[in-house]
Every structure is written in structure tokens, then in C-alpha cells.
Amino acid sequence: MADSAPRLLVVDDDPGMLALVSRFAEGEGFEVISRPGGQSLLTELPVLRPEVVLLDRNMPELGGLDILRVIRDADPECQVILMTADATVESAIEAVKLGALDYLTKPLDFVRLGELFSTVRFGIARRQRLLAADTELAGRFEFCGMVGRSPVMQELFDFIRRLAPHARTALVSGETGTGKELVARALHKLGPRRDRRFVAFNCSAVVETLFESELFGHTRGAFTGAVEAKAGLFETADGGTLFLDEIGELPLQVQAKLLRVIEYGEVQRVGANEGKRVDVRAIAATNRRLAEEVAAGRFRQDLYYRLNVVEIALAPLRERRDDIPYLTAAFIKEFAKRFEKPLAGLSPGAERLLHDAPWPGNIRELRNVLERACMLSEGRILSEREVLAALGGGQRPAPSVVKPAAADVTATEEPELDRRQIEQALQKVGGNRSAAAKLLGVSRRALYRRLDTFGLR
């Protein structure tokens, strides 16, 4: 939050010094926490999450330079000012080399300290303003839930806008996590059918034998288990839009039927003699190269040509990195609100990490990473360390004592998943954990527990 006071931690073994610095810093608009030092401080640091630390260099149990090292390691964004009663040039150089903002001698020069505080406050405010600006821009570049300032995205939005009123079928292609469903929803929302249903169907989430009855419905007694007659998704979506995700997963014989429904607008329930007219806009999506699937004989050429009359290809995130700051800002805003955290920005290091990550899972992956980082975060500024941890490259926290117990519970409740299964599932869905959990048939929490067990998190 831009209006809350930055947090200052003062560490000195002399209570008089603590009182003095606290008094001054509070007057300068800081929230002040004071500690006498010692080993216990190290465990407390991650909880305190100060933005500035004023450290006495000479303390009996644990010296200021040691604490400085720990802080620089844990949170590179935290500014540390050292103070000492007997400064030497060597010790000052050492402190600055270790990343201290400054090295002050006692008695403290309050004019100098006041200037340092201003520098720190200015830095924090700048980070917050940057994110606020990016959020504002993200809002301006938002289009039906998609955020994109890059030319390719602006062109895409324009294309969708022009297409939406007319297209009867469309093929949306793009890697996993690039927002294919959002494009389909945008086409629906901006088209003449916006008040009718939008039905989404994931072709990879259905058992092969059930495709036909899912899509086209079935009559009572059409097959074993068909106790009641059931309308298929085409009938459900009548008058509206049917979104067929992962169309490449559709078996060949179902592809033939699908083509007929799309071409003639007539759907025949499994077991029925008569067809029924439906008026459905079909939007298909795929993360495969359908042309290659056609060449390999796995996808019908006629269906492919019918679908790709209009093809919308989505760029992977790594090809539009310029959008990452805006996407990031939009997601941080969303998660800060959801988790009720005062997040107002991210550190330059965190920003760099996000910008440079490979993002095989694209925007969905970015979103998941930020969700986790926001969940972990304790401060106002998302730190490099938090983002790194969320990216999975960070140091893992020491295993907590409750883990073995939790693992016992999972063993009885949930199917055993070995590491390979999980890795394969994750790979298949581009790192999206919810999707992987769905694929594996376990709850997301269960999957997370397994990830912890294998150290994959």
C-alpha cells in the first residue's frame, strides 16, 4: 500500500541507542521495530520483513557484518545501514562491499541519516509507482481478459473484434497457456450470440468411447448404461458457441461426425434415427500443429480445412516479453486483492527474473508463478527471492516437522503417484499444476503434497 509506513528494523545491543534511533525514525514516518541483536534475530528476520535495517556493527553475540550478510542473502532489496562507534576506513569499505547502503559513525549525524531515509523512501515509492503505472496500462491494454500492449497482441485484438460478428467457425492455435479459451470467449462475447450460451469442452478430458455421446447426445438405451436420454453439447450450445479445446485429441471417427454437424448444422444423437437441427458456432483450439497431424494421418484434412477458414494463432509469451510487465501488474493486482496482501510492486531483480524466464507454460505459467509468489510474500514489494521460490529455482525451505505425518495421511487417502508420473503429467500440461492434478485424478492439494515429497515444488 502506498500510504502505509515503510518498516525499519534497528539492531543495537545498547537500549539507549535503540530508543534514540526509534524516536528519530518514527518522526521520519517509519514503522520501527527494535531488537537487541543475537542469534534469535536471524530466525525472526523473515517474519519481520523490514525494508530498511539500521545495524550496529559491534555487538557481542552476532556482529553487524554477519547480520548484513544474512540480510543481503535473504532479501537483496532490503537496504542496510551500518553504524559503529569506531569506524575505520577498512571496515567501511568492507561494509559497502557487502552491500550496505552506508556506514555511519556514532554519534549519529541525523542530517545524514535523514537523507538516507529519504533515499530509501524514494526507492520504495518509485517501485510502487511503477507497478501502479503498469497496472493502469494493463487496464488500458486489456481486451476481454487478455492483456497485451505488444503489436502482435494489438493486432490480435483488432482481428478478433473484426471477426467476432461474422465467423461461424474458427481455429485457435497456440501453445498451452497462451489464452486460447480467452480468445474463444472474446469471439463469443463480441459476437451476435453474446447472450446465448458459451459451452466449453476439453477433448483431452474425455474417455474415447464417450466422445460421441458427450458431443452429440444419446437416446435412452442407445448403449449399456444409457439409462436416460441425454442431450449432447451441440444441443446444449444451440444458438450459442461451442468451444472445443484440444481438438487434436479427437478420435478420427468422431472427427467425421463433427465435420458433418459443422457443415450441415444437424446433430444426430447416438442411437437416434432422426437428426436435429442446431445452430452452433464452433470454435476449436489446439496446441498441436494440426497441419502436421493431417500429414501424419491423425487428423482429417476436410475437418482441418473447415476449421481453419479462420485461424487465430497465438504467440507464445517468450515472443512477446514486452507484455510481461503489464501481465505481471495485472496478476499482482488480482492476487494482492484475493489474498488480502498489501503488495504494491516488485523489485527490479524480480522483474528481471520474470522477464527472462523461458515460460514454456506461457501466460498460465506466469499467472501460476505470480499466484504462488504473492501467496508467499510478506512484504509490500515482491522480492527476487519470492519470485525465484515460486519459479521453483529457489532454495527449498527446510522440511518442517509436520511433513512425515502429512505424508502418512496421503498414503492412505490418495493413489500413490511416483515421481515419473507426476513429471510426465506436468510436462504434458505445460507445468500447470491444476491441470496436472486433473490429469492424474487427484486433488490439487494432494498433488502439491506429492511435489513437496519429491522436492519438485
Partner: protein, 65 residues
């Protein structure tokens, strides 16, 4: 180090710390008090004495016992 081989730097360091607290609070009081306040002169006296004491500290460490 003194002639006796005892390191009395920590003691001098302690002294400087305490004096720094005294001087620091003087500074804070001086920031709060408006120019022309009669108490300022008193506080300045305290501060001056504190500074003088700090200035003496190096000599303390050189003094043979």
C-alpha cells in the same frame, strides 16, 4: 592495547556508545525546540560536554597504567 597487555578498546567503545546516546538525544531535543527557546542553551551545553568527552577517549587508551 595497554602496557599491561589488557585490551581496553571494548571499554572505550562502550563509553563512546553511551556518550553517543546522550548526544543523540540532545540533537533530537534541539530539533524539536524552536530557535530562541531558552532551554536550547542548556542542551547545547550538555551536547558540548558529551562531544568533549568523546574527544578525550583516544587519550584514555594511550594512558599508561
Amino acid at each position: 592495547m595497554t602496557a599491561t597487555g589488557e585490551d581496553d578498546t571494548p571499554l572505550i567503545h562502550e563509553f563512546k556508545n553511551h556518550l553517543s546516546v546522550i548526544i543523540g538525544f540532545c540533537d533530537l531535543l534541539l530539533r524539536d525546540l524552536p530557535e530562541g527557546d531558552p532551554k536550547r542553551a542548556d542542551i547545547l551545553e550538555m551536547r558540548r560536554a558529551g562531544q568533549a568527552a568523546i574527544a578525550l577517549l583516544p587519550k584514555l587508551s594511550e594512558r599508561p597504567r
